[in-house]
C-alpha cells in the first residue's frame, strides 16, 4: 500500500497544476503601490495536476465510508447517501446563485427553502421552520436563543436549563453559550427521564428542558406528554433534540406530543452526506409562540412569488451569514420527494426493525444495561468483556479488522463502557449479519484471546495511534525541518 506523503513533501519549485487566461485588461503600472504586499508564502505547495489527482485519490482510499460499508454509529444515523441528491445539488441554477441576487432572479432557490420548511413542519408537527442553522449544535443554540428572547419579552427571564444525564455534549454547551446554567435531571431504572426528579427540578426559574426523544439509549420517552405538562405548568419550554428523529418519521410527530421547539439534523434523518465532518444542517422548528423570534430573513410565499422578509422586529437576529447551508437543503428536499409519505414512514419502520434485530442477536453476548424496549438504536456495554480486561475501545478497534466501523462510544455517560449501535434503515440483512457475526467472534476472542483485541487494529492503513502523544506534544501543522 502506498503511504501517501503530505503535499508539502512532494512540492517543489516550478510545478504548476492550473493556468489562468492571460490578463485581458491593460495592466496598471504600480497597481500594488502602497499595498502591504507579501513577499512570498513560504513552503506553499507547487505540484502538478497529476500529483494532485493521485494525492487525493490515494488519500481517499485510506478512508472507510458509507459507500464501502456499515457504520453502526448510534445517534449519527449513517444511512446511505443517495446519489441523485448529489446530482440535484450540482445543478448550475443552484450552484451559481449569489446569495445577494435580487429575489426575482432566484425564485427557484427561495422555493426550495420554503418548501423544505413546510415539509419539515408536516413531518415534525411544528408551525414554522428556519433553515439557517448550519448544524445540529447551531440549531440547539438557536432554539435556546428563541426561548430566551420569548421569556425576556414576557419579563420572565430565567436562568436555568434542565438536561437529562443521558444527553449529548452539545446540549449543555449550547445552553451555556446562551447564558444559561445547566442542571442535570436523572434517568430512572428504565433509562427514561425520572419524572420525580424532573418535577423537583422544574421551578419557575427554569427556561426549558432539552429532551432527546428517543433518548440516547434508543428508548422512547413514553411519558413525554407528562414531561411536557410538568415543564409547561411552570411556564417553561420543551426543547427537543431531534438527532434521533429517524425512529419517528411518519409514526409520531414531536409537535403533537407537546414539543415547543425542535432541531432536525438533515445530515442524519434526511440522508445528506457527512462529508467526513460536515457540512450538515440543523433546521429549527417552532410552535406559534416562538415563531416571531426566528432568525431573519424568513422565506415567504406571497401569491405566486417567493420573497425574503427582513421586517421581523422580534427576531433574535442572525446566527450566520445568508440563509444557511442551502445546497444541503436541496439534497434533503430531493430525498423527501424521492421517498414520498410512505417512504418516509418506512424509514422509521425499518430503522427500528434493523436495530431490534441486532439487539436480539447480541443480547446474550453483550451486556444491556437497560431492558426497556428500544427503537432505532440500542446501547450495549463492555461489562461482560471487562471481566477479561477488555474495554469498549478494544472491541471497537477489533471491529475494524472485521471490516466494520466501530459504534459510538463516547456517550451516553450513564452507561460506562458504552457501545451505542444504530444501523439505520438502509442496511441489508447481509451487512447486519456480517456485523453481528463479527461482534460474536469478538466476544469469543475477548474470552480466549484478549491480546488480539488489545493490539487491534491489525489490518488498517495505520494501526492504533498514540493519542496521548498527540495531545501532550501537539503538532498541528507541517513545518519544514530546520537544518541544525
Amino acid at each position: 500500500m502506498i503511504r501517501e506523503p503530505l503535499i508539502f513533501e512532494i512540492s517543489d519549485k516550478g510545478k504548476r497544476a492550473f493556468a489562468f487566461p492571460k490578463l485581458d485588461v491593460p495592466a496598471k503600472y504600480d497597481v500594488l503601490g502602497g499595498l502591504p504586499v507579501r513577499e512570498d508564502i513560504p513552503d506553499f505547495p507547487q505540484v502538478s495536476e497529476v500529483e494532485v489527482v493521485r494525492h487525493f485519490t490515494r488519500l481517499s482510499q485510506a478512508n472507510y465510508c458509507v459507500d464501502i460499508g456499515f457504520y453502526p454509529l448510534g445517534s449519527c444515523t449513517m444511512k446511505y447517501n443517495p446519489k441523485v441528491n448529489e446530482k440535484a445539488a450540482s445543478l448550475a441554477g443552484f450552484v451559481s446563485s449569489h446569495p445577494l441576487a435580487p429575489p426575482d432572479l432566484v425564485q427557484g432557490n427561495l422555493e426550495v427553502l420554503k418548501r423544505i420548511a413546510d415539509y419539515l413542519c408536516e413531518i415534525a408537527g411544528m408551525d414554522a421552520f428556519t433553515l439557517q442553522p448550519s448544524a445540529g449544535a447551531q440549531g440547539e443554540l438557536t432554539g435556546m436563543m428563541l426561548i430566551r428572547a420569548c421569556l425576556e419579552e414576557r419579563g420572565d427571564a430565567r436562568k436555568i436549563v434542565l438536561i437529562p444525564d443521558s444527553a449529548h455534549g452539545t446540549n449543555p454547551s449550547s445552553a451555556h453559550l446562551c447564558g444559561y446554567r445547566v442542571q442535570e435531571v436523572k434517568s430512572n431504572q428504565a433509562g427514561t427521564v425520572d419524572l420525580e426528579d424532573l418535577a423537583r427540578n422544574m421551578t419557575d426559574d427554569v427556561a426549558a428542558l432539552m429532551l432527546t426523544n428517543p433518548n440516547t439509549l434508543g428508548v422512547f420517552e413514553w411519558d413525554i406528554k407528562i414531561i411536557a405538562e410538568i415543564v409547561h405548568a411552570k411556564g417553561g419550554f420543551l426543547y427537543m433534540d431531534g438527532a434521533n428523529m429517524n425512529a419517528l418519521t411518519g409514526i409520531c410527530r414531536p409537535g403533537d406530543a407537546g414539543v415547543d421547539v425542535i432541531h432536525i439534523n438533515l445530515h442524519k434523518t434526511f440522508s445528506t452526506p457527512h462529508g467526513g465532518g460536515g457540512p450538515g444542517a440543523g433546521p429549527v422548528g417552532v410552535k406559534k409562540a416562538l415563531e416571531p423570534y426566528l432568525p431573519i430573513p424568513m422565506i415567504e410565499k406571497r401569491g405566486e412569488q417567493y420573497a425574503l422578509n427582513f421586517d421581523r422586529p422580534r427576531t433574535i437576529g442572525r446566527v450566520r451569514s445568508f440563509y444557511g447551508n442551502f445546497l444541503v437543503a436541496v439534497r434533503a428536499l430531493a430525498y423527501m420527494l424521492t421517498l414520498g409519505p410512505e417512504g418516509i414512514k418506512e424509514i422509521a419502520e425499518i430503522a427500528v426493525l434493523n436495530s431490534n434485530y441486532i439487539r436480539k442477536s447480541l443480547e446474550k453476548d453483550y451486556h444491556l444495561k437497560y431492558d426497556s424496549p428500544t427503537l432505532h438504536e440500542c446501547v450495549f456495554s463492555d461489562k461482560i468483556q471487562k471481566e477479561n480486561g477488555i474495554s469498549n475501545i478494544d472491541i471497537a478497534k477489533r471491529l475494524i479488522d472485521y471490516g466494520v466501523h466501530p459504534p459510538t462510544m463516547s456517550f451516553p455517560l450513564i452507561v460506562h463502557g458504552a457501545l451505542m449501535i444504530e444501523p439505520t434503515e438502509t442496511e441489508s440483512k447481509r451487512d447486519l449479519d456480517i456485523f453481528i457475526d463479527a461482534m460474536k467472534k469478538i466476544a469469543q476472542e475477548a474470552k480466549e484471546n484478549p491480546e488480539i483485541l488489545k493490539s487491534a487494529p491489525h489490518q488498517s492503513y495505520v494501526r492504533r495511534l498514540d493519542e496521548t502523544a498527540a495531545a501532550r506534544n501537539p503538532v498541528l501543522k507541517w513545518e519544514r525541518e530546520k537544518k541544525s
Binding site: 503530505l6 504586499v37 413531518i123 449529548h168 462529508g275 418506512e346 466501530p406 492503513y461
Partner: protein
C-alpha cells in the same frame, strides 16, 4: 422509491428472530394518543427521472445564471479547477463520518492536517482549526475566544466589518457578558483611527476588523494592531475575501492574534450562501482556547506517521458546558475542496489569481469612474471590490441594468444609510474586459 435493502424473506426472518409479526409492534412503547393516525401530507414519491425533471425545472426558475453579475459582499466568484469537483465527489470523501476512529479515517485526517497548514501559511498564524460554519460565525467565535482569554467584556468592532458578521456577533454575544461597540470609518473608507484610539481603554478585550473591509478597502493592519496591543487588547482580523491572502501580507505578520473569516473563495461556488467555509487560526499561546476540531500528527504502534483529532478536551463532547464552543459537525467537505483548490492553484496560481483580481478591479473602477456623474467614493486601496457613488438612486440604475441582463453593484443604502446612492462592485479574474466595458456603457446609458 426507497433505499431499503431488505427482501420480503429478510423481513420475515428478522421479525421471527425478534419475536414479533410486524414492525408496527415495535412501536408499542409510543402512546396511542400521539401516534400519527393518517399519512403525512407530502407530495407523492417521485422516481428518479421524474425527480430530476422536477429539480431541473426548479433550478431553471433561477434566471440569475443568465446575468452578468458584479456582486461580491462576502460571496465571490472565482475559477474553480475541474479537479476540485472531481476529487471531492469521491464517495470516500463524501460519505465517511467524522474521523473519531482515526485508523480508518487517515484520508480525511491528512487532508485536515494539510488544510490547517495552508491556513497557517496564508494567515501567518501558528495554529488553525479544521473549520467553522462560515465567516460570520467564525467572527463570533473569535470574539468569544478573546473574551475567554482575557476576561474583559468590551469588544470594538469596525463598522466596515461585514454587516452580517456584525449581526451574528451581536446574536452570539447578546446573552453573554460581552458588549460590542462599533467604530466608524473615515473618508478614505478605512477604520477611523482617532475614534479607535479614543475608545481603546483597559476594558477592551479585542478589536475586530475586516481587511479588505466590506467597502473593499484594505486596512492598515500594522498600525491598528499596535494600537490594540498598547491597550492590552487582542487584535482579531476577519478576512471575508480569502483570495486576497494570495498577495496581501499575512495578518499574522502585521500583529493579528486571531485571524478568522470566510474561505468560500477557495473552491466553493456561491451556492446561494452555503455551505461555506469558516476558518480560524491563532498564535500558539492561545491554543487551548481555540474552538473547533483540530487534527494533530502522531505515530502508530508500528512507528508509522498518522493523524488524529486531538486536544478534544476543549470540545463539547468532553467538556460539555465548559467547552470552548458547542460546535460538533463542521464543514469538512468544504475544507477538502479548499485544500484541493489551494494545492492545485499552488503558490504561483494563487498569486496570479490575486493579481488579476486587483488589475481587473482597478481597470473597472477607473473605467466606471470616467462615466459622467459617477465617482469613487473612497480613495483607499482595494483588492477586488470598490464603492461608487451615483448621482441618483442606485436602485433605478440597477433596474435598468437588470432589464439588459446585468446585475450591478450591491446598493449599500440598506446596510449603511450614510451611503445611499452608493454601490459596492466586485470584479474578479472571471470577468472579461468586454464584460467590464459592457457594464460601463450600460451604466452610462442608464444615467443619461
Amino acid at each position: 422509491m426507497s433505499y431499503i435493502s431488505l427482501s420480503d424473506q429478510d423481513k420475515k426472518e428478522m421479525l421471527d428472530r425478534i419475536g414479533v409479526s410486524s414492525p408496527e409492534e415495535l412501536f408499542c412503547c409510543i402512546p396511542e394518543d400521539i401516534r400519527l393516525k393518517k399519512g403525512l401530507n407530502l407530495p407523492a414519491a417521485m422516481p428518479e427521472p421524474e425527480l430530476l425533471r422536477h429539480f431541473e425545472a426548479l433550478a431553471s426558475k433561477n434566471i440569475y445564471p443568465k446575468y452578468l453579475s458584479f456582486l461580491g459582499a462576502g460571496s465571490y466568484v472565482h475559477f474553480i479547477p475541474t479537479v476540485v469537483d472531481y476529487l471531492s465527489s469521491r464517495g470516500e470523501f463524501v460519505t465517511p463520518y467524522t474521523p473519531y476512529q482515526p485508523e480508518v479515517s487517515q484520508g480525511t485526517l491528512q487532508v485536515v492536517f494539510e488544510y490547517q497548514t495552508l491556513i497557517c501559511q496564508l494567515t501567518g498564524m501558528d495554529i488553525a482549526n479544521a473549520s467553522l460554519y462560515d465567516g460570520a460565525s467564525a467572527s463570533a467565535e473569535a470574539v468569544l475566544m478573546a473574551h475567554r482569554l482575557n476576561g474583559k467584556a468590551k469588544v470594538l468592532a469596525a463598522r466596515t466589518l461585514h454587516p452580517q458578521y456584525r449581526e451574528t456577533i451581536g446574536t452570539y454575544t447578546k446573552n453573554l457578558a460581552v458588549t460590542v461597540e462599533e467604530v466608524g470609518f473615515g473618508g478614505n473608507g478605512e477604520i477611523n483611527l482617532q475614534e479607535l484610539a479614543k475608545r481603546l481603554d483597559k476594558d477592551v478585550s479585542a478589536v475586530i476588523l475586516q481587511s479588505p473591509n466590506f467597502l473593499g478597502i484594505i486596512e492598515d493592519l500594522k498600525k491598528i494592531g499596535e494600537l490594540a496591543h498598547n491597550h492590552q487588547a487582542l487584535f482579531i482580523v476577519a478576512v471575508a475575501e480569502a483570495a486576497s491572502l494570495g498577495i496581501l501580507e499575512a495578518p499574522g505578520k502585521l500583529g493579528a492574534d486571531i485571524v478568522c473569516g470566510e474561505a468560500q473563495s477557495f473552491g466553493l461556488a456561491p451556492s446561494f450562501g452555503g455551505p461555506y467555509l469558516g476558518f480560524m487560526g491563532c498564535m500558539k499561546d492561545f491554543l487551548r482556547q481555540l474552538p473547533g476540531r483540530i487534527a494533530g500528527q502522531t505515530k502508530d504502534v508500528d512507528g508509522n506517521r498518522g493523524f488524529v483529532l486531538t486536544l478534544s478536551t476543549r470540545e463539547q463532547h468532553i467538556r460539555r458546558e465548559k467547552a470552548t464552543s458547542n460546535i460538533c459537525t463542521n464543514q469538512a467537505l468544504c475544507a477538502l475542496r479548499a485544500t484541493i483548490f489551494l494545492e492545485t492553484l499552488g503558490l504561483l496560481g494563487l498569486k496570479e489569481m490575486a493579481l488579476q483580481n486587483i488589475q481587473k478591479a482597478n481597470y473597472a473602477a477607473d473605467r466606471l469612474a470616467r462615466v459622467k456623474g459617477i465617482k469613487r467614493k473612497f480613495a483607499g486601496k482595494f483588492f477586488n471590490e470598490f464603492v461608487l457613488e451615483f448621482p441618483k438612486d442606485l436602485q433605478k440604475v440597477n433596474d435598468d441594468l437588470k432589464q439588459k441582463g446585468v446585475v450591478g453593484g450591491l446598493a449599500l443604502g440598506r446596510f449603511y444609510p450614510e451611503l445611499k446612492n452608493c454601490g459596492l462592485f466586485c470584479v474578479t479574474e472571471v470577468h472579461q474586459k468586454e464584460e467590464i466595458d459592457r457594464l460601463a456603457s450600460l451604466v452610462e446609458e442608464a444615467l443619461r
